[in-house]
C-alpha cells in the first residue's frame, strides 16, 4: 500500500519534471475523454428536454395515425422489399383516410375510455386584413377535444361553444397578437368583428368570438411576423374547405384510470377491419409515452454510437501512452537496474510503471472531463437545451481512462519488470 503511494508521488513528480512530454502524451486521452463526455452531455440534454417537452403534452393520450403498411405480410422476397419501398412513397388517396364514421364508431364502442377526441383540420397559412392593417395567420378547424389537450388561456370573449361546434358556425378564436396587429390591441372592438379569410381557394367571413393568449415560442421570439393560429370549429372548416370528414391522424384523450397502453392496442385492433383490404396503409395507435420512450431510446442509441466512435480517439491516446512508456523505460533502464539491485521485485517494477501509465491517463482523463463538460454544456446552451452532464458518464470515463492506462501500461511495465538487473545496470 505504501509502495503504491510512493509510486503515485514518483509518477506525479516524473510528469511534473517533463511537462511538455506529459502534456503531449495526455493530449490523446484528453481529446478522447473530452469528446466522449461532450457528446454524452449534449445527447443527455437533448433527450431530457425532448421528454420533458413531450411529457407536458400529455403522456397518456393515444395517438392514432395512418402509416404506410410495412410489407412484413408480403412474401418477404427481394421483390417484396423493392415493392415495399415504392409503397412508402405512395400518396394518401381519398379512400385511405380515417373517416368521421370510423371515429364515431370508435367513440360508441369505447364510451368508458374515450374522454375527448382531438381532431385538427389544417386549412393553411394566409393573411387577414382589417383596413390597411394585415396579419399572417394559420387557419385550422379543430374539434372540441382539441382544447382539452391544447389548453388556451382566454383573455377576452368566450371559447367556441358547443353549438358553434355542432352547427359549424362561422366563429373563430384569434390570438392577442392579432388583436394587437389589426385592432390596435382593442379587444372590445375585435370581439364580434367580422374578418375575411381567403385560403385554399375558399373565402368566407368569420366572427371573432374570443381572444386567447399567444404563447411566445422562445426560439422564434425574435421574428415578429410569425403567423398566429386562428381556430374555427371543425365542421366549419370542413364546409369551408369543401372537404370530406377525412383525417390522417387524431388524438384520443383517455378518461382517468384508463391504461392507455392497453387501450392503444385495442384501438389498433379496432381499426384493423377497416384497413384489411388496404394494400398501402394501416392504422397505428400509440401512446405519447411509448413514443417518447422510442425516441429517447433512439437518441441514446445514437449518442452511444457517436460516443463509441469518439472513444477511438481514446484508443489512439492509449497507444500514445504505451509508446511514451516504452521510450521512458528505455531511458530509465539504469534506474530499473539500480532499483532491482536495491531489492525491487519484478512485481514492484511492474506496479511502478503501471501506476505511472495510470496516472498519465487519469490526469488526462480529468482534463478531458473538464473540457468535455465545458464543451458539452456550451454546445447544449448554444442549441437552447438545458445542459445536463452525466455523472455516470464522468465516473465511467475516468474509470475507463485508468483502465486504458493499465491496458497500455502493462506491456511496457512487464518489459521493464523482466529486465535482467545486470544488463540493465550496464545499459549505456
Amino acid at each position: 500500500m505504501m509502495l503504491l503511494w510512493e509510486n503515485i508521488i514518483l509518477a506525479v513528480n516524473g510528469l511534473l519534471s517533463n511537462k511538455t512530454r506529459a502534456f503531449l502524451t495526455m493530449l490523446g486521452i484528453i481529446i478522447g475523454i473530452g469528446s466522449v463526455i461532450a457528446i454524452i452531455t449534449v445527447g443527455n440534454s437533448l433527450t431530457l428536454s425532448l421528454s420533458e417537452d413531450m411529457q407536458s403534452m400529455g403522456a397518456n393520450d393515444v395517438y392514432v395515425m395512418l402509416e404506410p403498411r410495412s410489407d412484413e405480410d408480403e412474401n418477404g422476397s427481394i421483390d417484396g422489399v423493392v415493392y415495399g419501398t415504392l409503397q412508402k412513397s405512395e400518396e394518401l388517396k381519398e379512400e385511405d383516410y380515417i373517416t368521421t364514421e370510423m371515429i364515431d364508431a370508435m367513440c360508441e364502442k369505447y364510451p368508458n375510455e374515450v374522454y375527448a377526441i382531438n381532431l385538427q383540420h389544417t386549412i393553411g397559412q394566409t393573411s387577414v386584413a382589417v383596413g390597411k392593417k394585415s396579419a399572417s395567420v394559420n387557419v385550422s378547424g379543430v374539434s372540441a377535444g382539441y382544447f382539452v389537450t391544447n389548453k388556451l388561456e382566454m383573455l377576452h370573449g368566450a371559447m367556441l361553444s358547443a353549438s358553434d361546434f355542432a352547427e359549424g358556425k362561422n366563429a373563430i378564436l384569434v390570438a392577442d397578437k392579432l388583436v394587437e396587429d389589426l385592432f390596435d390591441g382593442d379587444a372590445q372592438k375585435a370581439l364580434g368583428s367580422e374578418i375575411e379569410i381567403n385560403c385554399n381557394n375558399s373565402a368566407g367571413s368569420f366572427t371573432i368570438v374570443g381572444v386567447y393568449k399567444h404563447e411566445q415560442n422562445a426560439m422564434m421570439g425574435m421574428s415578429f411576423d410569425m403567423p398566429t393560429e386562428v381556430y374555427m370549429p371543425l365542421k366549419t372548416a370542413n364546409n369551408f374547405d369543401h372537404l370530406e370528414n377525412n383525417y390522417s391522424s387524431f388524438q384520443v384523450v383517455t378518461k382517468v384510470g384508463v391504461n392507455s397502453d392497453e387501450f392503444s392496442a385495442k384501438l389498433q385492433k379496432f381499426f384493423e377491419p377497416y384497413y384489411r383490404n388496404n394494400r398501402n396503409f394501416e392504422v397505428t395507435a400509440m401512446t405519447l409515452s411509448s413514443m417518447v420512450d422510442m425516441l429517447t431510446q433512439m437518441l441514446s442509441t445514437i449518442t452511444i454510437a457517436i460516443a463509441v466512435i469518439a472513444g477511438i480517439a481514446l484508443l489512439v491516446g492509449g497507444i500514445g501512452v504505451m509508446n511514451i512508456m516504452l521510450v521512458s523505460i528505455t531511458e530509465r533502464t539504469r534506474e530499473i537496474g539500480t532499483r532491482k539491485a536495491l531489492g525491487a521485485k519484478n512485481s514492484s517494477i511492474r506496479v511502478q510503471f503501471i501506476v505511472e501509465a495510470m496516472i498519465i491517463c487519469l490526469i488526462g482523463g480529468i482534463f478531458g472531463v473538464i473540457l468535455g463538460v465545458g464543451g458539452g454544456m456550451g454546445l447544449s446552451n448554444l442549441l437552447g437545451y438545458p445542459a445536463k452532464p452525466s455523472i455516470a458518464a464522468i465516473v465511467i470515463s475516468l474509470g475507463f481512462s485508468m483502465s486504458v492506462g493499465v491496458f497500455f501500461g502493462y506491456y511496457p511495465a512487464s518489459k521493464a519488470a523482466k529486465m535482467n538487473p545486470i544488463d540493465a545496470l550496464r545499459y549505456e
Partner: protein, 179 residues
C-alpha cells in the same frame, strides 16, 4: 560476482540460500537485505532527494514510513550528509553522491557491501574521503566490504586481496590493512 544469475557450474550458497536456484522473490530479498551495492557511477535515483534515495531499499523491504525516515536520517548523518538530505542528486558533487549511495547501501544493515570501483569517478581527495568512510564502516559497523578496484594503492589498504585476471582467481593474499 554474479549473485543473481545461474552459475554455469557448481553451486553458490549465500547464508544457506542456493542462489543459483533462487526465484525472483528470494533473489530480490538477498539484494535487499544481505548486500549493499555501491556503484562507480553512484546510480542515485534522479528527481528523488538524498533522503528518499536512502529510504528506497527500506521501502522495498516494507519498513514503515516513520522508521524509514528516521534510519535514513541517521545514515546520512553517518556519512556526514545530514545537511544535504533534501537535495536532489543533480545538486550534489560526485563525492557527496557517493556518500549518499553508501548510506543507501547501508539502509537495511546488510552484512556485505559490494563496491564496484567506488572511487573510480572521483578525484583523489574525495576518493580518499570515500575510502575513509568504508574503513569506518568496516571497523565500527563490522561490515564486510568487497571492493573492486584496478588501483593497487587502494587494494593495499584492505585486509585481503584477491586478484582476478580474465575471470580467473590468480592470487589471494593477506593485505596490509589500515586498521
Amino acid at each position: 560476482m554474479e549473485f543473481w544469475t545461474d552459475q554455469p557450474r557448481g553451486t553458490y550458497i549465500l547464508d544457506g540460500i542456493d542462489v543459483g536456484n533462487a526465484d525472483d522473490a528470494e533473489l530480490s530479498k538477498i539484494r535487499n537485505q544481505k548486500i549493499g551495492f555501491v556503484f562507480q557511477t553512484y546510480n542515485l535515483i534522479s528527481k528523488t532527494n538524498a533522503l528518499k534515495n536512502v529510504e528506497l531499499p527500506m521501502l522495498y523491504a516494507g519498513v514503515n514510513q516513520h522508521t524509514r525516515k528516521q534510519r535514513a536520517k541517521e545514515l546520512l548523518e553517518l556519512v556526514e550528509m545530514g545537511d544535504r538530505a533534501k537535495h536532489l542528486p543533480e545538486e550534489l558533487s560526485g563525492g557527496q553522491k557517493q556518500r549518499v549511495a553508501i548510506a543507501r547501501a547501508m539502509a537495511n544493515d546488510p552484512a556485505i557491501i559490494l563496491a564496484d570501483e567506488p572511487t573510480g569517478a572521483l578525484d583523489s581527495k574525495t576518493g580518499r574521503l570515500v575510502m575513509d568512510l568504508f574503513h569506518k564502516l568496516n571497523r565500527e559497523k563490522k561490515k564486510t566490504i568487497v571492493l573492486i578496484t584496478h588501483s593497487n594503492e587502494l587494494a593495499a589498504e584492505t585486509d585481503r586481496i584477491i586478484s582476478i585476471r580474465d575471470g580467473n582467481i590468480v592470487d589471494s593474499v593477506k593485505g596490509g590493512g589500515k586498521a
